[in-house]
Structure formats: structure tokens, C-alpha cells
Symmetry: D2
Subunit: 333 residues, 4 copies
């Protein structure tokens, strides 16, 4: 059944295999008359792109977005915006040996179990490359909610943990999205070491959202926290989501939390309360290890590049709920 | 916008305020010709009901389900099944003093921010009472996937943690859904103490699913882990979800996890692989504390009663994906 | 698959078999804070009810609506509104002989083909009784668009055709929704004759909508005319829908229609243009004829009673599109 | 709100303005492992393309489909299939004079009313060019239901009516989809005359579907007739849909129709009964008339080219309902 669309009102539909002709996204539900800036979109894609830093995969693709519809004279038309990115660096012959080999923790085996057939040249839809369509969607979502500030950063990579969370969204996140210069250097050194050894690492991402309007989220199933959780768990390698104090809530008693509204992570009853929203995500270490990982076309750790993707999905969820709620504005007292 | 439905193919739509006439659910997408057993449904509701144990709220309601449609001669018709439960013990006069008071961590304030108007007699849709509709939905979902075994249990309450996870689904979960007799007694004593003090506690729930067919979940947005995360984060007080090793993945390197397929929690690429599915949830301590909590109508901890609700939501997600996948059975090689 | 919901933003989910416990509807997406009037709702239901006129079935049910949720102190809460109507006059023993008999043009046979099982006591979901849930939905939809005036009337019953369309919405539609006194008497006489003979008749309904806001409807699949067509063709016995000049457009040349904007029926490109919307529907003669029809529990013609149902579905479509469009209000120049 | 997707299980999402970069479609929900034939797809597109016959617009575009995803080694992967067609012959400078001019019966004015902004170079999304995405979707839908035969033809153009309906689907439809050689020549002559005069014409299309499985369609809102009606009324210029006997049902009494099962058009209770499905559509004359119509870039009548589009939408509806129903196959007795 269709599972390639996300959002109710601001809806993205993505397509494309990692080694096919192109990847892309159709954005439906965009308001009309909004100015766009193609350079800003390219910057977001570059943040996600491989090859930006030595710790990343050597697979370098220009990832040039081509807008096919929905824009006229640099303004949105209110019609669906289709954007594609060609796969220019497929090198699929590298992967022929993988035809019969199922990597653990990858979708290789489950794709066959589900469909009986797959594009063995790469991860197909399960490739991290799929996420560039999300980044494109996130750029347009951000135009709907220009006052909302979304800021994600690395809190942990393997044994390295961030000692102090950044004070605000202006703190520089350095080369690999860690808002601490010392930790940045330690992690770069650690990940280079991982690459050389064919090792990989996981970690934790923290997300802060400021200026989110109050009242977003629906009371029962479509709580804001529920839709954020779905958005994040739909990311490759993401294995956990927690709001506010998250799993530490298990240790806190009611009297300890009741006077700390920031513990709630910016929502009450699953609806935004106007305060800062914050949540955490965990990503597992990539499954490609050993000799295969040494060929230089795999990241030893997804976290540095996952930051713009997490921000994009966050904006998509909030823009969608913003439009959902806007429909009722005229009925509010 | 509508946010009271869950599921694509096996779809529940719930309604009802905690202090209104009734709560209920409409289940759409149920196959025809399946035998139902009203007694089994009552047992599930009783597992969720308040007043089953001294540690719970004293609010005792019979929670008798009345089936209004979709069943004929004890068989499903394939048409929508509507089930309602009357609110018999509303005592709304107890709550009049709450009209202008917003409890922290509750939806009281955010409901006003969102709608400009609310039923101040109780939590409205944000009440835990809403979850009985989910339990009813879960009973019917279970009939679609009778071989799938879902088993949830308490892993932590406040300072008390389960030392050893249960070996299989036959382990008795005792009075309050803890598969360990010693811990059960400690937690009962602890929660009684909380009640007397007007204190409350949070904790962690673990879920194990056996015999889930392989191939469930869609590759991108509707991954099985994503839909489970949304289902769980839509529960009141749930603040975190993690698959498999969850947040421990931050500490594990790739070589450590690649040979432990159980770490992946029964999915690869977000699609079930036929192995045991396992995930964890964290619930925060209830916000009602102090003098208000001593009136006896509030649980000091949601975890004992949340177990059947978590199982219900798990079954709903799996049954939905099972039907989604079944549509393609005839096309598989 | 679920097929018992209608609407994207203003969404109704209906349930209930004609001979089950109750029929009902859950309305999701209603704005909060709107005053309701239960007496107005009862009047709408009475317009649809059988037994209001001698030409109708003798099956008389009070059709008393019971509101279970979503309303507090006579105001909408913004939460789902569930309304049920008990089946008080089932007399299912009358129908036992029908267990193995499939009426032509009825869903009897196709229900078995689809589900392998059915409630043989009556039409189940395919009964015209299902439509009372639509009338309830239409009442609430109307509260969202109070300025929109919807007016449906009979244009033809069997050989009798309305000579002159009514000038405006104030024209009295008489006993059986025909805005012409002479034709009313002729049709009453004709339908009484049909009843006595076990005969039945079809006809045409015309609908006029005034004060519909411009800009409703989406450009491609969710055109306003497309959603109205679906709404109307989902009605039992409805076999045709036409906008504006409808099938007469086959005879008109471009130069003939270009200067008559009323020919377009209030839409251009499927989007409302602010002018009067008008469309026609055809309903076939009921399939219950001969001896079975003489027992007095079947209408010889659905048209008199179908008028409030058609108006309800029209309001539901327009209210849904009104909310869909409202979400973008703040982005309009 | 998003309105550019159609279908629940077999879902197409279309995009593209008539004078933008490209038009396209994303098809989600396609089964895996089905062989495709690009030449067959091109044939379908050619049937729809302008410039195939002298009576059509002179706007000739190659309409070459480019498949971007979802296909590997000529087989479907089960992932979304994205297909685009470049706009190669935009000549948008012809249209500059139209910037401030709203054509009656076109979406020009309503687009401004809705969005406050439009691509004045052409019809944007409201252009008939949008329909090529539907034809592509229809090709893939047809692969899911290879035994179902869909056959549409012209029954009337302006004053010319088909005397005898074709006996079966093998009857040749000639140059312009009229299954009668004499009428074909008369209509060609008539339409050439229209072109010269700046006149335009409407007409009626008939559709026959053979070998549609029984049991398709959902009992209440998603009746097969309702979804077909929506599909057809979503077509530009389509102003009416009728099932079976259609508007003639107004004249037929119950005793006249009960013994003619073909009158019901292949459905009972809105669910397919396994017999031939037949329905009719009316299309209005194009609004572009007079001097503007004489520039040779507009069709004087949409009917000849609408036939493959109608067949495509029919297949999309049936394939969608086929998959919806397939999910329950294993539960049937």
C-alpha cells in the first residue's frame, strides 16, 4: 500500500531508488504567492550531501535540484511542487557482488520478503539517499512557518557526549554539527579512526524548536509528539525518540517534574504550549562494517549528516499542523 | 482537523469526553465472518479499568461495552463496528473548582489555546479514559492476526527496575503487570506510599511481539517502527519510544551490533523480518499531585493499567499493516 | 477497506445496519464554540423520516438522535461529535423469508459476493436507513457555513415534470418537495396508485446553492464538481449527476454557451466562482415491486424523502472545502 | 489542501503546469515484479496527444515519457513509479496577451479567486495537458487488472448521434473514436467546419467495462459508482456522469427495470456484480471560441482525445478497488 507520502495538509510524496535515474519529491498543499530562493534550497541539500567532510562517504554527488512544477517567476503557485535530483554517480557495477548478499540491519532481506524482487545495486528506497527528498520538502515547509526556528545538534557519538547543551540557536555547530569545538575534534579523530578500521558508530541527536505557535497538534492520535515520533522513526537508522525529559521521566517523581515546565518539552496533552519544544533521537551505527566499509563509499556514522534531515522533518510536521490549525482560525473567540 | 482516526486499512475512529455521555469507537476495515466473543472483550476492558487494584484510582466504572453495529449472530459483517461505553460515574460536581485551574503537564491550558473552549469537568479527550476505545479496537485487531502474540510488561517504576526480562510470554505478570513477584510487592508498597503522600511516579514498559509475519511495514514513511512510534506517542503520558536496543545504540559500535540480530528489534529497514519484535516506552509521572491527588480518584502511576492499552495499540498497528500487505499476496512470486 | 468515512477536513464516519441496534455518525473536524440546536436537528431528521406522508413506507420510527460526545452546554467542543439513533421498529421476523432471496438492483447478491456473509434481516448498510447518519452530518456541516443556502427539489417523478423551476429558495416545496402545487397533487395521486399496484417510480432532483464562497474546490482531482458527484452517487438509487446544463451540453455549441455563465453551474475549472451552483440527480425506481411492495413498508419512490439527504451531502461537501480553503486565508494577498 | 492525489491503494499524485518545465505522476501502491512495456505506454500517450488528426489542435508535442523510479530491468519494484513528460513546445509568448483576460468557463478567474496568483501563460493545472499524467497512471493500473477490458467511445458530438452501440470491444473506433464509419466522416467534416468558424462542440462518451470482478466497491461512500463519478467529474469539461440507464431511469417504472439487469450498469448497491459495467459522460464545448480559436492551437471538441483519458481513469478506479478488496481474500469463506 502507498507509504511514500507524509503529512495531511502539507504533504510530501517521495520517490526514487538510490541507483535509479533520479530521486524526487512532490509537495502538495503549499500556499500560493510565497517567494522561494533556489540558493537557499541548495545550501540545505549541501548540508545533507556526502563528501562535505573527510569523515563522510567519498560518494560525491552534486545533488542539484531541478524544479519541474509549482513555481512561476520565483513564487509558489499553490500547485504541487515537483523537484528532482539526478543520480549522477551511480557506479552500480561496484555493487554487483551484493546481489545475493543481505547486509544485517539493512533492508536487503526484508525487501525480498516483502516484494520478492529488489534493485540489488543499492539500498533502493531504503538507502539514506532517499532522505534528500525530505530535505527539499523541509525547505518548502520552512517557508510556511518562517518565524519558527529549528535547531538540531549532536549530543553523543559513540563514547563522546556533549557536556553542556548550547544556550541558544546562535551557537556555532562547527564542521560536523556539534556545538562544542573540543568535542568536534575528538569526534572527527574518532570517526577517522573508525573509517580506517572498518568500524562504525551511533549516537544521539537533540532538537530544539523555538517560536512554535501554541495549539498545534490534535488531542488524540495526531498529537504533535506522535507525529514527530513517526517522522523521526521513519528515518533510516533512527531507533528511538523521546520528548522533553524522555526516558529520564522513569526516574522522576511527580513532585519533581510539576514545577519544571521545560521537562514537558513544549507540549502538554500532546499539543504545543508555546514554549521551547525539545526532543532527542538515537541513531544506530551503520551496518556496513569491515572490509566493505573501507572502500570509502560509506559513512562510519550517520549523525553529522542527519542534522539537516531531522530539521527538515521537524519543519514538515510543524508546517502541516500549522495549516491544519489555521483552518479554524476564524472560529476562535 | 480530524485527528481521531488511526490506521489506514484497519481504522479506528474514537470519540467521547471523560465526563460526557459515553465514549466509543468505530472500527472500519474489519474482515467479515470472524467470530467474536463479548466476554473476551470485557476481559480486556477490565484489565484497563480503574479500581482493579488498590494502587489505582477509586473511580470505578463498569465499562460495559455495547456493540451497536457490524456484528450479526456473533460474527463480523465486514461493516463498521461501533462500540460504546457509557460514563456512569461522572461525579462532575467534584471538578467544578477546576474550571479556571490549569494543571501543569495536562492538556487543560493547551485545549483552551487550541479551541478557546473546553469541557472543564475533566480531561475531555485528553483524559486517560479515552484509551478504553483503543482497547476495544485492539480486541478486534487481534482477531485479524490470531497467531501474533503481544506481551507487554513493566520494566521500571520510579526507582524499581526489573532485574531479568521474562523468558517468554507465559511468564505470569502478577497483580500489576510486573513479571517478578518481589518487584511486584515492592512497587505496590511504593505506590501506596505515593498515594498517601500525594506523590506520583513514572516508569518504563517493555513490549515483545512474537510470530509477527515478515514483510510488514512500508519502506519510507510508513515503516513499522514509525507507525508503532506514532501509536505509542499518541498515548497520554508516553514520552518516549525506542526499538530494539534503543538509546543504548548510542554506545554500541557497528561491529558490536552486527552479529546480534536481536538488537534490531525484529525489523530491518523498518520492515518486520519475522523475528521477535521488541520495543520500550517511557511514561511520565501523572501531573495530579499534592492535595488533589489524595482524593483517591487519580492513579499515582499509569503503568499498571497502561499495559493492555499498549498491547491494543500494537495489535492495531500490526493488523493494519497485515491487511495492507495482504492486498499484494497474489502478486508475490 | 474502510469506506464509511467521507470528507477530508469535515469528516463523517457512519455506521449501523438497518436492523441492528442503532445507526450513527462520528463527525470529526468540527470547529469549537458553535451553538447547536437539537430541535433543528430533529426537524432535519423528520424531513427524512418515513411515515411523514401517505405516499411513504409505513415503517415509522421516531429517529430520535442521541448526542454522545463533542457537545458541552449546547456548544461544540471541537472534538468528535457522535450521534446515534436507535432502531426501535425492527420487526426483523418479517424479513426471514428474504434470507435466500436476492432482490434485483439491491445489494443483496453483491454483499454476499463481497463479504460471503450478510445480515439478511434487511439491507444492512445498503439500506436507505443508512442515510439518516448523513442528515445528521449535514446539520453540523450547515453550522460551519451558515450563509450558504442549499435548496433541493423534485423536478420529475415518472411521467410528471416540473414546468417552471422555482424563482428562488423561498418557494414553498409543499408536502413532498415539489415547488408546484398542481404537480404535487398529480404526483401524490400517481404514487398512491403505484403503491396499490406494487409499482415504483424514479425521477430527477434539482439542487440550487446560493452564497457559496468563490474559490472552493481543488484544481485537479478534488474539484468541487467531482466531490459533489461522488457525494451524490454514493446515495442509494442515485444513478446520475450533472452540473449546470449537464447532458444538454452535448447539444450546445461553444458560441451558445460562452455568454451564459449560468450554464456552468457556478463553477469554472471545477472551482466555485461565487455564482449560483446548480446540478441535477437521477434516482431509479425502487427495486421492491409486486407483492412484496404492497406490504406497506416500502416507498414507491425515493424522491420526496431524498431531498433533505441531498441537501445534507451538499452541505458536507461545501463545509469540507470551506475548511480546506480557510487554512490558506492568511496567505492570500 | 492537497488535491492532486487520487486513489487509496493504487494512488496517483500528479503535478505540472501546461507551460512549466514538465508534467508528471507518481504512482504509489503498484505491486512488485510486474513486467512493463514502454512502447505500450507510448501508444497510450499517443492516443491522447494533440496533433494526431486534423480536427485537433496543432500543438504537437512528442510527449515522451521518462521513467525516473520504480522500475528495474523492466519490472516494477513495488516502489513509487515516477514518470515525467517535458513540455517542449511551450511558445508561452503567444499567451502574454492573456495575462489580464479571463476566458469564460475556464479556470482563469477562479484560480485568481482561489490563489491570488497564477501562471498566466496557460491553463496551469487546469489545462487539458494535465490529463497525460492520468493516462500514464492508467497504463500502470491496467497491468494490475490485465483481464479487465475497458472500451470507451463517442456516442454524440453536437448534432451527430451514434445510431447503434457497438456489439463488443472488438469494433473498430476509426480515426476519432467513433465506432461507426459514416458518423466518423460526418463528425470530421463538422469539426473541420467548427475550426474554420471558431466554433466548438460538446458531446457524450459511453464506456463499457467487461470482466470486472464482482464484489468491488465499498457499501456506503466508496461505492464503485461514486468513485467512478468522482474520477470522471474530475476531468476538464466533464459535466455529467450516469450509470446504466442514467437519466432515463427517471422515466422507467420499477416493473420495467426489474427484469433488465443490464439497466443497472453492472453494479447493485454500488458494488460490481460481475456483469458488464456501462456508464455515460457528457463533455461541454471548449470555451475557446471566435478569433482565439482560429489560431489552430485549440481543439474544437475534446471528445476524440478524451477517450484514452476516460479509459485510464476507469482502470485507475477499478485497480484501486481490486487491491482494496484483495486484502480480504484470505478471509472469504
Amino acid at each position: 500500500m502507498p507509504g511514500n507520502s507524509f503529512g495531511q495538509f502539507f504533504k510530501i510524496t517521495t520517490f526514487g531508488e538510490s541507483h535509479g535515474e533520479a530521486l524526487g519529491v512532490v509537495i502538495d498543499g503549499m500556499p500560493a504567492g510565497i517567494n522561494i530562493n533556489l540558493e537557499d534550497l541548495k545550501i540545505e541539500l549541501k548540508r545533507r550531501a556526502p563528501g562535505q567532510h573527510q569523515v563522510h562517504t567519498a560518494r560525491q554527488e552534486a545533488d542539484l535540484p531541478e524544479i519541474l512544477s509549482g513555481i512561476f517567476e520565483n513564487k509558489t503557485l499553490g500547485t504541487p511542487i515537483a523537484v528532482i535530483v539526478r543520480n549522477t554517480n551511480q557506479r552500480s557495477h561496484d555493487y554487483d557482488s551484493l546481489k545475493e548478499s543481505y547486509r544485517p540491519g539493512h533492508a536487503d532481506k526484508t525487501t525480498i520478503l516483502k516484494y520478492g524482487f529488489r534493485d540489488h545495486r543499492g539500498g533502493g528506497r531504503a538507502s539514506a539517499r532517499e532522505t534528500l527528498a525530505r530535505v527539499i520538502g523541509g525547505y518548502f515547509a520552512g517557508l510556511i512557518i518562517p518565524k519558527v526556528s529549528t535547531y538540531a545538534y549532536i549530543q553523543q557519538v559513540g563514547p563522546y557526549k556533549l557536556a553542556n547543551p548550547p544556550k541558544d540557536h546562535s551557537v556555532d555547530r562547527g564542521e560536523i554539527n556539534i556545538p562544542d569545538e573540543n568535542m568536534t575534534q575528538e569526534v572527527i579523530s574518532f570517526l577517522n579512526d573508525c573509517k580506517n578500521k572498518g568500524e562504525s558508530a551511533g549516537g544521539i541527536v537533540a532538537v530544539s524548536v523555538k517560536n512554535c505557535p501554541a495549539g498545534l497538534g490534535e488531542p488524540v492520535f495526531d498529537k504533535l509528539k506522535a507525529d514527530l515520533a513517526k517522522a523521526m522513526l521513519s528515518l533510516p537508522a533512527c531507533n528511538g525518540f523521546s520528548m522533553g525529559e524522555g526516558f529520564k521521566f522513569a526516574d522522576h517523581l511527580g513532585t519533581q517534574i510539576s514545577s519544571h515546565s521545560e521537562f514537558f518539552g513544549g507540549m502538554e496533552g500532546g499539543i504545543s504550549n508555546g514554549e521551547e519544544i525539545h526532543f532527542n533521537l538515537v541513531f544506530k551505527a551503520p551496518s556496513t562494517i569491515g572490509e566493505k566499509a573501507k572502500n570509502g563509499r560509506h559513512d562510519p556514522c550517520v549523525l553529522p549528516r542527519v542534522i539537516p534531515i531531522v530539521e527538515a522533518m521537524t519543519k514538515i510536521v510543524i508546517a502541516d499542523h500549522f495549516l491544519r490549525q489555521s483552518a479554524y482560525d476564524s472560529f476562535l473567540p
